[in-house]
């Protein structure tokens, strides 16, 4: 007689005539019950449950046309082996994530499988969306770098650098040579530390657990150096519009020399472990292949595109912060598979260490932030002496500085690819709009191209080689 759901609601629907169930009538949601809260003696629920659903974003059992091509990754080049013979018993749609240790955050993948073979894949994102682009519209340009640094949390200096460069282009402010050199030093060290996390997790995901220990071990001195310089291990807010927040600490050369020695030795160890390791080679070569044409069409950039042979590095194409005065080479792969991404990233670590060594040798003296008092707060000592300095300080920290109306797109080569920011100013002290083109967003989008037609065990290896940071994807 009594429906189980009524029993769960307690005494309230005692009359049993019509239970005030407000669940939507669509099929998938009928199975779920609303979490209504009933108080004794009341007729209606005091707090009504609320569905959130990704139903429209999910993969359907039957898709057609362009959707199917998207999920199969055959939009650009159709290398799909269309020899699927199966009955419905063998097909299944598998959810991987958002809580899965190898999804590197909260990425959710829907995979259609026949046996162990992946027929379709669909990345579903948004679980870490916190509206940071909207937040950026409420923060002044001085505060903005605290916001953007939290997006790609493994390479925070690049976010700050990109935001600062965009603001400085709108302002028309040039930063001193020492600020540029410090920026290059910090970002290239950051590239090394980010790649070290990647090699750690890539190794861990395919079973080389010692790589995890080694990668995090060698990243530690770099984070220690960041902490000594900026005060924080992550989310530094160190690179700011107009320069950097502080000069390098005393004895920074000794730290950098020891980092270079340690990581160079470490990279040799990793290559000794992995390069001729038959298990590593079997699990990475010809796994997760993407072609140069697909990279361009999907907006895939960075080491993934370079592993496919796309000769494109923003540090060479559109140099920023004077990085073109240092000598470095752009490593390229040929096969576009997981192994080539490994080779390219290892080589990038060496090249970045080379840049760091050059910056260390040629570090110019001078100020580390622009002398423009409309942008940079005056030195503490000046505030006691000068009324104007006090006024500038007060205005900067209460209202911020205005940026001339205009719009600019600034891109830097982050460890994951092209990190771009489209900054629109209406002349005020806060951005009118800040759009962040995260490299992981585009790289995640191309996952079906790499995943389909491979085996379920290869998903983990491929996903790790894409190295997505979900804070950057969802923002």
């Amino acid at each position: 007689m009594t429906d189980p759901s009524d029993v769960a609601h307690g005494e309230a629907p005692d009359n049993g005539a019509e239970a005030p169930v407000t669940a939507p009538e669509t099929g998938a949601e009928e199975r779920r019950r609303l979490h209504d809260v009933w108080m004794s003696g009341t007729e209606a629920p005091t707090r009504s449950g609320h569905f959130t659903s990704e139903a429209g974003q999910e993969m359907l059992e039957e898709e057609e046309g362009a959707v199917l091509a998207q999920q199969r990754g055959t939009l650009v080049s159709d290398d799909y082996l269309d020899d699927i013979e199966s009955d419905d018993d063998e097909r299944q749609i598998l959810n991987m994530g958002p809580q899965h240790p190898s999804t590197h955050g909260v990425l959710r993948l829907q995979l259609e499988l026949i046996g162990e073979r992946i027929i379709r894949a669909k990345p579903i994102i948004g679980y870490l969306h916190t509206g940071m682009e909207k937040t950026a519209e409420t923060l002044t340009y001085m505060q903005g770098s605290t916001n953007v640094t939290r997006m790609d949390y493994l390479s925070p200096f690049f976010n700050e650098l990109c935001f600062s460069l965009a603001t400085e282009r709108l302002l028309g402010v040039d930063v001193p040579p020492r600020a540029d050199a410090i920026r290059v030093l910090m970002t290239e060290l950051n590239r090394v530390s980010s790649h070290l996390v990647w090699i750690a997790t890539q190794g861990m995901d395919i079973g080389a657990l010692s790589m995890m220990i080694y990668g995090f071990r060698d990243r530690e001195p770099i984070l220690d150096f960041f902490e000594r310089t900026t005060g924080l291990r992550m989310n530094h807010n160190y690179i700011r519009p107009g320069g950097v927040a502080a000069d390098l600490p005393d004895g920074w050369r000794d730290d950098v020399v020891s980092i270079i020695d340690l990581v160079t030795k470490g990279v040799g160890e990793y290559e000794g472990i992995l390069n001729a390791n038959p298990i590593f080679i079997e699990r990475t070569q010809s796994v997760g292949v993407i072609t140069p044409e697909e990279c361009d069409a999907y907006g895939v950039t960075g080491p993934i595109a370079r592993a496919s042979g796309v000769d494109w590095d923003l540090r060479k194409a559109f140099p920023y912060s004077g990085i073109d005065q240092y000598e470095f080479k752009v490593p390229l792969g040929r096969h576009g598979d997981t192994f080539d991404r490994y080779i390219v990233r290892m080589e990038e670590i060496k090249q970045s260490l080379g840049i760091v060594a050059q910056v260390m040798d040629s570090m110019p003296d001078g100020d580390w932030r622009t002398g423009d008092r409309k942008v940079t707060p005056p030195p503490r000592a000046r505030i006691d002496q000068s009324m104007e300095a006090l006024i500038h300080h007060f205005k900067l920290f209460t209202g911020g500085f205005g940026v001339p109306a205009g719009e600019v797109y600034q891109a830097v080569e982050s460890p994951r690819g092209e990190l771009g920011m489209y900054l629109v100013s209406d002349g005020g002290t806060r951005p009118y709009r800040l759009h962040v083109r995260g490299p992981s967003f585009a790289n995640t989008q191309a996952l079906p191209v790499m995943l389909t037609d491979s085996l379920i065990a290869d998903v983990v290896a491929t996903l790790a080689s894409v190295d997505p940071v979900l804070g950057d994807v969802d923002r």
Binding site: F51, T52, S53, E54, A55, G56, Q57, G65, A66, V67, Q70, L75, V76, I125, G126, H129, G131, E133, K134, T138, R169, L170, E293, C295, D296, A297, Y298, G299, V300, V310, D311, W312, A317, F318, G406, E407, V408, Y409, A411, E418, G420, Y422, V424, Y432, R433, H435, R437, F441, A442, T444, Q445, A446, D474
Partner: protein, 177 residues
């Protein structure tokens, strides 16, 4: 006579500003004459009418702008030429140039053809533009929300959308009677 014929053609090229923005854009400007080119802070920028939006990108892809880079929507609430700007960034590896294309979209009819047929990478970016700013990209294969839950109401990055707040109860605070 011959001079009379050639002069208007040259002025057309001059008014669009394509050749001065970048030499590679001259052929594109000939295909899509309504596009206006300019250089803003060192970057080549094109502004195109909604009718020629898709045609411009097809011409650009033929002209070597093969790499899709970025697409975003900006809400200019009270603007005469259209409330929204759809901003697309393309890269040409062979010409080593980045081109930004802007297209105004009116607020009472925020629709635009989807680029995902030309550049598959536009897929996620157009979903983001639809989700956060409510611009509908027609012929998009899978135009659903991407960041927010499916049953979210409104488009939070629009300028007339309220930021919202979560009520906080300050229990035990000193009430002023």
């Amino acid at each position: 006579m011959a001079d009379d014929v050639t002069t208007p053609e040259e002025t057309v090229v001059d008014t669009t500003g394509a050749a001065s923005a970048h030499p590679a854009l001259a052929a594109v400007a000939a295909t899509v004459p309504s596009a206006v080119f300019d250089v803003v802070l060192g970057d080549p920028v094109a502004r195109v009418e909604r009718e020629d939006y898709l045609a411009l990108f097809e011409a650009l892809e033929d002209e070597g702008f093969e790499a899709f880079s970025d697409l975003c929507v900006v809400d200019y609430l009270h603007r005469e030429i259209g409330r929204f700007d759809v901003v697309v960034n393309l890269l040409s590896h062979q010409h080593k140039v980045r081109l930004r294309v802007l297209c105004a979209v009116p607020g009472n009819d925020p629709t635009l053809p989807s680029l995902s047929g030309v550049y598959p990478g536009a897929n996620f970016y157009e979903r983001e533009g639809y989700d956060l700013l409510g611009v509908t990209f027609t012929d998009h294969p899978d135009l659903t929300r991407i960041m927010l839950p499916e049953d979210w109401e409104g488009h939070p990055l629009r300028k007339d959308e309220s930021v919202g707040s979560v009520p906080v109860q300050f229990k035990g605070s000193n009430k002023v009677e």
